[in-house]
């Protein structure tokens, strides 16, 4: 069974064709289409109505790359919540038109469920219930995932998402974009215990997160060091001497603080539920320190850690088509009255 999956929840115009919930026949993301001149549009760098310019071309490209036509497609799935309403509406309108024109079933999907499902598209060994940590620029969510793709939300961020703090700190330090990869690379050359940044809410006894305070602490530390003359931004290599603060150490210490809280709470959740499987998803799942620390900590309680390849971590249409396959077999069908919604919690067990 082949499903066309569409995601326009934020920045990306993403469309994929997936067979039987696993076999990714195509997975097209507008920002990665090099020759965007082909459709005469602007790459939607930011969530906006620019999705309109891209959507038809990206649908066609997904079909072409999968070597299928609409005659081979069995259903159309689309992210209809949560996200930026103006962006979601473009995907939903496109999906409804396509489903109607080709007389295909339509399924409205929660974006977060797509992220959670991504691991099962590439790993056979996932057991239930498992603990899933979704970490990206927009999300930080800890979920207990039960058989049949039913969920219990354990906690999430109370302010900034983990990936957002990476991007903001990188920009603040003058390191550029994408902040996650740049800080991760710099951190590998630094000392993670050089600066004791706070671990907000680590011992709060629940599964909530807060990363805004780490951002403030980094800024305070940097300003103090600049005043003391031990740090120069942007680094020009002139600040030297024994007191000199290395950007690598700031990056490593910052990363250690973020990763510590994420790993601690995720493993604690696995321990509490007895889950032997932990999955990591979202753009920050690419972080080397997060992967390594989580693996080590999980091993101590006999749990395994899984993460998908990056093309399934970041926003994509394949994960939407993937979870839609499971939902289709559980009877989900949406009518042409399907609407988009800015908010939308995943349904609890």
């Amino acid at each position: 069974m082949k499903i066309l999956g569409i995601d326009t929840s934020c920045d990306e115009t993403a469309v994929a064709v997936v067979a039987d919930g696993r076999d990714v026949l195509s997975n097209v993301i507008a920002s990665q289409v090099k020759a965007h001149e082909e459709y005469g549009g602007v790459v939607p760098e930011l969530a906006s109505r620019k999705h309109i310019e891209a959507i038809n071309y990206i649908v066609d490209k997904a079909l072409t790359e999968a070597a299928v036509t609409f005659r081979d497609v069995d259903a159309v799935a689309v992210t209809n919540r949560p996200g930026l309403i103006g962006a979601l509406l473009v995907g939903v309108a496109a999906a409804k038109s396509l489903a109607y024109a080709h007389n295909l079933p339509l399924l409205g999907i929660n974006h977060i469920e797509g992220h959670i499902y991504a691991n099962s598209m590439v790993h056979d060994a996932l057991t239930f219930p498992h603990i899933c940590l979704t970490v990206s620029g927009g999300h930080t969510l800890l979920v207990e995932v039960h058989e049949g793709w039913r969920y219990k939300v354990l906690g999430g961020t109370q302010d900034d998402a983990a990936g957002e703090v990476y991007d903001k700190i990188a920009k603040y330090l003058g390191l550029g974009f994408p902040g996650g990869r740049i800080i991760d690379e710099l951190a590998q050359k630094g000392n993670p215990t050089a600066i004791a940044f706070p671990r907000p809410m680590r011992n709060s006894g629940d599964y909530q997160f807060s990363f805004s305070g780490i951002k403030t602490s980094v800024r305070y530390f940097v300003e103090k060091a600049q005043r003391a003359g031990t740090l120069q931004l942007p680094p020009v290599g002139s600040a030297s001497g024994p007191d000199r603060i290395r950007l690598e150490d700031i990056a490593a210490s910052f990363q250690a603080a973020v990763v510590d809280v994420l790993v601690y709470k995720t493993v604690r959740a696995a321990k509490a539920t007895g889950a032997k499987t932990i999955t990591l998803t979202g753009g920050v799942a690419a972080n080397s320190q997060l992967r390594a620390s989580l693996k080590t900590a999980a091993a101590e309680i006999g749990a395994n850690v899984y993460y998908p390849p990056i093309r399934l971590c970041t926003d994509n249409g394949a994960m939407i088509a993937g979870i839609a396959y499971e939902k289709y077999h559980r009877g989900l069908r949406d009518g042409l009255a399907l609407n988009a919604a800015a908010t939308g919690a995943i349904v609890d067990v």
Binding site: C10, A47, R49, L84, I85, G138, D159, R219, A342, T343
Partner: protein, 144 residues
């Protein structure tokens, strides 16, 4: 009318926001202007509490998604222009529809759309003194 406030912790900042939130009515727009880590989202959490946000709704940073919507006594639209670089990108977002709507709009990094802000908006400048101390300058519209 111009007022100044000083807070010494995130909790004090939230309490200040709560007081302000209690005075708001549908259609009000709050423009927040302050550097990284000055407490814009923190103040917004307080404002939302004062407005009467629905239980269970979490006020988190909309930097990535650009707009968060919260249910409550009055709907709250929490807008964040951090990632937007120019007027065209902001125009693409269709913010006028939110600002003209019957909810309360709170706009972080509002200086990026200064020209497009309505006359009736309340402007709050936040200045950082040290790790915990913040100064707030609240400017109410002349007619308000």
């Amino acid at each position: 009318m111009k007022q100044t406030f000083k807070t010494h912790s995130p909790e004090e900042t939230r309490a200040l926001g709560e007081q302000l939130g209690k005075t708001l009515k549908p259609g009000d727009v709050i423009a927040l202007i302050g550097d990284l880590g000055t407490g814009k989202t923190c103040l917004t959490q307080g404002i939302a509490r004062g407005v009467g946000i629905a239980p269970g709704e979490v006020v988190s940073s909309p930097s990535y998604i650009l707009i968060n919507e919260y249910k409550g006594t009055i709907p709250i639209y929490h807008i964040d222009l951090y990632r937007l670089e120019n007027a065209a990108e902001i125009a693409d977002l269709g913010l006028t529809e939110y600002i003209e709507a019957d909810g309360i709009c709170i706009v972080e990094w509002a200086e990026r759309m200064a020209a497009a802000l309505p006359m009736r908006c309340v402007r709050i400048d936040i200045r950082w003194e040290d790790e915990n101390v913040r100064h707030f300058t609240v400017q109410h519209p002349v007619s308000g």
